[in-house]
Amino acid sequence: MQSEYLGVAVTLVCAALLVTAATVAGGFVSLAAPVSGEAWGPAYGANDGSPSDSLARVATGPTRIENPYGTARVSYDRDGVPHITAGNTEALYFAVGYVHARDRLFQMDLQRRLMEGNLSAAFGAGTLDSDRFHRRMGFDDAAEASWAAVEGSEAGAGVRAYTAGVNRYIEAEPLPLEFRLNDYRPTRWEPTDTLLVGKLIAWRLTGDFRDLRGRVLERRLPEAASLYPRQLDHESSILGRADLGGTSGTLGSPASPAVAEAGPDAATGETADDHRGLYDSLRRYQRPPGIGSNSWVVGGEYTASGDPILANDPHLSLTVPPVWYEQRLVLTGEASMDVRGVAFPGQPAVVIGQNREIAWGFTNVGADQTDLYDYVRPGEETYRYRGEVREVRRRTETIPVKGGEDAEVTVERTVHGPLIEHEGEAVAVAWLGLAGTRELRAVHRLNRAGSIEAVDRIVRRFDSPTQNLVAMEGDGGTYFRLTGRYPIRTVDGERVRGDRVFNGSAGHGEWAGWEPYGEADWNGSGFVPYEAVPHAVDPGYVATANQRTTDDPPFYIGSSTRYADPYRGARIYDRIEDRVGSGDPVTVEWTRDLQRDTRSAAAAQFVPHVLNATDEMSPEARAAAGTLEGWDRRMDRDSTAALYFALFRERIRNATFYDEFHPAGLDAGYYPHLWTVGELPADSRWFDDTRTPERETRADVVARAFERAVAATEREGYGTYGDYNVVDLDHQFPVAALDYPEAPTDGSPFTVFNFRTGAGTQAGSSWRMVATTGEGSVGVVPGGQSGVYYSPHYRDQLATWREGGYREIPFESGGPTVLVFEDEGEGS
């Protein structure tokens, strides 16, 4: 009897425990259960080189997938790079779509969710502000406009095939871990999603609200105007130091009367708002600081092989998985093509890379591609425009929120673009990418370009974003061009610069022939003619690092606030000029060494200031400053001097400007360029601390910043630069296992070997490539090819990247065929 009671008690306890586990932790149990748990599904088939996959291939051959567009084969090389071969473009792009989804589906879904304002549906209310902004901007409508501009082309047909490939994967294959952990499924991929990915990239490179920033500064601290000159005082513009002997093209010249441009006071808005609140609410969504890149091409006359050499490392946000996806695409038959390089997951074509004939790369121009307009507003729902009162076009959208109530956002638009409002202040935003741009067609054609002439012809359709394109061809040609479209702004018939908020009610500064979310007459009077945009054919060498294009631009491109400090550009040109001047030929190895150059031109500018300020320092700081004497100015991880300098560099602008900017309500985001501080005279008024009766000079401020740097070093327990300069890349999804391991690296935001540490998203070389004719090209991504956590290629390149290493990127696979796409009807 007693044992029966015991049995019943055990049964009840077990039942209670199981019911509790099912109700309290049922989701986790479904995830973690051995073998059948949701979390483990993607683990099977994630390693193409595993015993089970190898055996399966021996037994049954590669995985076979039906392809409505024709046959294609995919092999992965030892670095997880797919080599995809097909007989026609659509069959190829179908396979590319499938492969992108196989390796990067979560990233693709995240990107489109961000841009369409649909993050909250998957991640909850924490992303509502982002969703509201992106919906107000109407990026999805812009993607529709671009789709309308390309859908009838060969590239459009390719996008349809790519879309079908992505959806074939979503329908048939296991979802990545992130979807399972967060319990949602991706919706079907649409052609416009591919265009949305393009809008994301273009916005991050050219979208900004810096005209508002300028207005805030103008109103709140007008005496600071000299800190934001049209051009920084340096001599390292792209074309200014390029070897242009024998070059043809438009190189920039003093503005002719026909393009004379009025000063910044030629047009002003009519409202009294300085728009600081509005700018502060928007600046988190604009092009982040430090986003830049390096590229250069050296002609065969200076290289050991006699063939050109091209280098490119775009500095973008460092993410998990990386921004770029490396791939090789091969078309057989008449339309033959063999191209390899990196693409954006979500877009089929190679964006940076090389084919058998040419190689090319991009850096950001920093051109002004966003104009802002304010209005006289008779009422909340109206605005005055060219003498009449117009209704603001409004619609209310519902934002689904996971785990919460749906939210709403009111989308408002004027004739100029989306009307973005914050606490009663509003401006309309005309961003060039809001119209039907055609860069997708251009990149598609670029993949099979056979000559510099072809590149020049193809890039005509590269409407956005504005990029410094460098290219080379195997026969020896080199090329430089600014891509994108450059709006012509006029006020009362006179051409003006775009770096201000325009009076929208008066119709000032409009781009003729451009309609937000519609078509644009790119070859009309609203834009600078293609032939007039700076370009150079066959330069001996040219280097770009986001500095200004030329000292004498033929039209308004941008202001110093949009260009980078000249440190990287100057350093690259210094080294190229030294090499060429020495008579030693440029080689691939030398080019790699330059890409890994850690010598800081910023240090060269500031260290003398520090050493001249030691009399104003405490003994402890003076001793620390002593490490800078004899320092080779290299931002290397084992250097103590680099540590002191980096922390000093972070503080010098605050030490200089806080006393004037803070009382005006301006934080560090309004400070001028570091270069500007370095060039201020020693007795500049900006070095005087307005809070003290004494008159401070540069030495006082430099000493103060250095004292703070030394204190920070001790507070944080840093010993060398590597303790501070740590690569710490986290996955967007907050699961620690998905993050990359932390480790120190070299470089800084101002060195050629580029890395920006600090809180928030880190940035640096998102793809490092040196390309030459034939074999011998190298590249590396900061992480790995695969976004699948279980893949051996999830982060297998991270250490190589961190150490400044490379992998060969040959035109051959060497790996087994893993996927075979068969024409529907062929069967297996």
């Binding site: 015991l6 049995g7 019943v8 008690a9 055990v10 049964t11 009840l12 077990c14 039942a15 425990l17 199981l18 586990a21 986790f28 149990v29 479904s30 995830l31 973690a32 259960a33 051995p34 073998v35 059948s36 748990g37 979390a39 483990w40 683990a43 099977y44 088939g45 994630a46 390693n47 080189g49 595993s50 015993p51 089970s52 996959d53 620690a736 296992a737 956590y789 279980y790 893949s791 051996p792 999830y794």
Partner: protein, 114 residues
């Protein structure tokens, strides 16, 4: 006629074909445990039914959990992803806990009742 009469259960647990029925229960339990999380409990119930005593039911449940985990580890090993799976930390640990606990609770629960 019920299959779970005391006589039939005694036959299963102590009869001449007890070994065979135990083997069958483990085989079926392993299959169930590998296809669905609830199958871990169902498998535990199966091996618990053929356990001659309550302590043996606990052992049978743990054995079954161990078997499922062994299959799990071997399958990941062959898939070339064992190290990455183990790297998931708490999720991997939870997998081990669920793997042992669910069959054991299923086995104990049923053996206590019949």
């Amino acid at each position: 006629m019920s299959l779970l009469t005391p006589e039939r259960l005694r036959e299963l647990r102590e009869g001449p074909r007890a070994d065979r029925s135990t083997l069958a229960a483990f085989a079926l339990g392993l299959l169930l445990g590998a296809v669905h999380p609830a199958g871990l409990v169902a498998g535990g119930v199966l091996v618990g039914l053929v356990a001659p005593s309550l302590p043996r039911a606990l052992l049978f449940g743990l054995y079954l959990g161990g078997l499922v985990l062994l299959v799990f580890v071997v399958s990941l090993l062959f898939a070339g992803t064992l190290g990455r799976a183990a790297g998931l930390g708490q999720l991997a640990l939870l997998s081990v806990i669920v793997g042992f606990a669910f069959p054991a609770l299923g086995a104990l629960g049923i053996r206590g009742a019949v």
